[in-house]
Symmetry: C2
Subunit: 279 residues, 2 copies
């Protein structure tokens, strides 16, 4: 059987690739794309079976661009995974922690390692377009005194050395990734939807009533501005259920009565929650 | 009377300074600080009368860091303004649109001008820590073939030339800024609150009921992960009302009954909405 293809944003060795391994094991091929729009397109056009999109980080919040792309494309969420983000200091040649003067990485990764930079005031932060991309760049250019912050997968792929691990300030650093496909998943215990409401007070309250009146548990509610219509919002809701079961189906039918737009984004098996519980 | 001091993030000439002018006229002095945490601290410690924090952009979404800082510090929201973000190409010396090969700016600003870069494929995007800071840097270093993307206020302060205006892809690009102080505002027609809910299905529904049952209009609902407790959330809600009026007071008393945490962040005059209407 040919390997499954998965479009990811950024270079090989990214946290997306780490997440793909958690979901799909080893029988897949990564197809790196320049931006999130391109990974959605790769699946929409049938070039790849899946794409993997980060949607929410416990520290940085939601990845708005991907919420917008979920709406723009008609793909289905077929699975999810909550990946613990571990930042590693990766270098080449004979570099050691003492010789490092510059550290390249994505600005978000640099910001998440602020304590490391406070402890090492002589080390300069250099923003780069991608975490794994900064490791790839150093593997090619071998800049003296330089290191990168990225996933351990990047160290292995580009044959870098891990000088230090767990550089992140906060261990509760998880990213939720969604696996997207052109065809829906066969089974699931979680449903993701998006809707907008008419312009009347209490509109969102009525929408949440369709779940509360049926004791359906919401696990996420996210508001997202409607592009081109300032201060109007789409709401993204995740709830525990299955679209083939009567309770969820009836809730969605009821929701359609009180919304101006409604779409099911996917019904899929929920990822393990590392800590805490759904609300 | 001594001028009012306002702490802003980043260099002079930022969009924050443009927003401060809209709110306070000309009788104020800007106190630039390195990061958002420092502007909140400047007010908390009494070094500045106000700070100005961007909280929401119609394209990029909420500024999560400032939502967290609202919770961390005990400041009051006393005013707000919705600023139209206009990106300008600013350069020095004899540079023209034809001689520019590199454009420096904050990555978000560069991303918001993607059509300009598509039309000018020979121009390289160079990420910089700050929009106004990139103008300041060019004013000092005079890098040949370089320009910056920033507010027109930055062009005036650093005596740069505007080579082109309205580089932004989407004209519906507004940032909502909050003015924060140690003392609450005297009057207002809008209330901002933050709360968390107990871990039971329907908890958020009950919270929204206190508003819906009193026909109180919500203008914003934002969920924000609880730092250190993955997949638990704080909810930030804005509603139309005044904490001194019985209706709002009763709604807040009722809300206190059904939440595990509740705080009023401010009661203030709502900013003009450029397009669209509250929901």
């Amino acid at each position: 059987m040919p390997p499954i293809t998965v479009a990811i944003q950024g270079e090989r060795g990214s946290f997306s690739e780490e997440a793909a391994r958690k979901l799909l094991g080893r029988n897949f091929e990564v197809s790196p794309r320049e931006n999130f729009g391109a990974i959605f397109q790769a699946v929409a056009k049938g070039q790849c079976r899946y794409c993997l999109a980060p949607i929410e980080n416990t520290l940085a919040g939601s990845v708005y661009e991907n919420y917008d792309l979920l709406l723009e494309h008609k793909l289905h969420i077929v699975s999810e995974v909550n990946l613990r983000i571990v930042h590693n200091l990766i270098a080449f040649s004979g570099e050691t922690l003492r010789t490092i003067r510059k550290v390249y990485s994505h600005p978000v990764a640099l910001a998440q390692c602020s304590r490391f930079f406070k402890r090492n005031p002589k080390i300069e932060k250099v923003p780069f377009y991608d975490t794994a991309g900064s490791v790839k760049m150093l593997a090619e250019k071998k800049i003296p005194g330089a290191a990168a912050i990225a996933s351990h997968v990047a160290a292995r792929i580009y044959r870098g050395r891990m000088l230090s691990s767990h550089l992140e300030d906060d261990p509760n650093n998880f990213t939720r990734f969604l696996l997207l496909s052109r065809t829906p998943a066969a089974a699931g215990n979680k449903v993701s939807i998006v809707f907008s409401t008419p312009h009347v007070p209490g509109a969102l309250f009525k929408c949440l009533a369709v779940f509360a009146l049926r004791d359906i548990d919401l696990t996420k509610l996210e508001s997202r501005p409607l592009r081109g219509r300032p201060w109007e919002y789409f709401f993204y809701v995740d709830f525990t259920g299955n679209v083939k079961e009567a309770k969820s189906r009836k809730a969605l039918d009821h929701l359609a009565e009180v919304t101006s737009y409604l779409r099911v984004l996917g019904c899929y098996k929920s990822g393990e929650r590392p800590v805490g519980s759904p609300r």
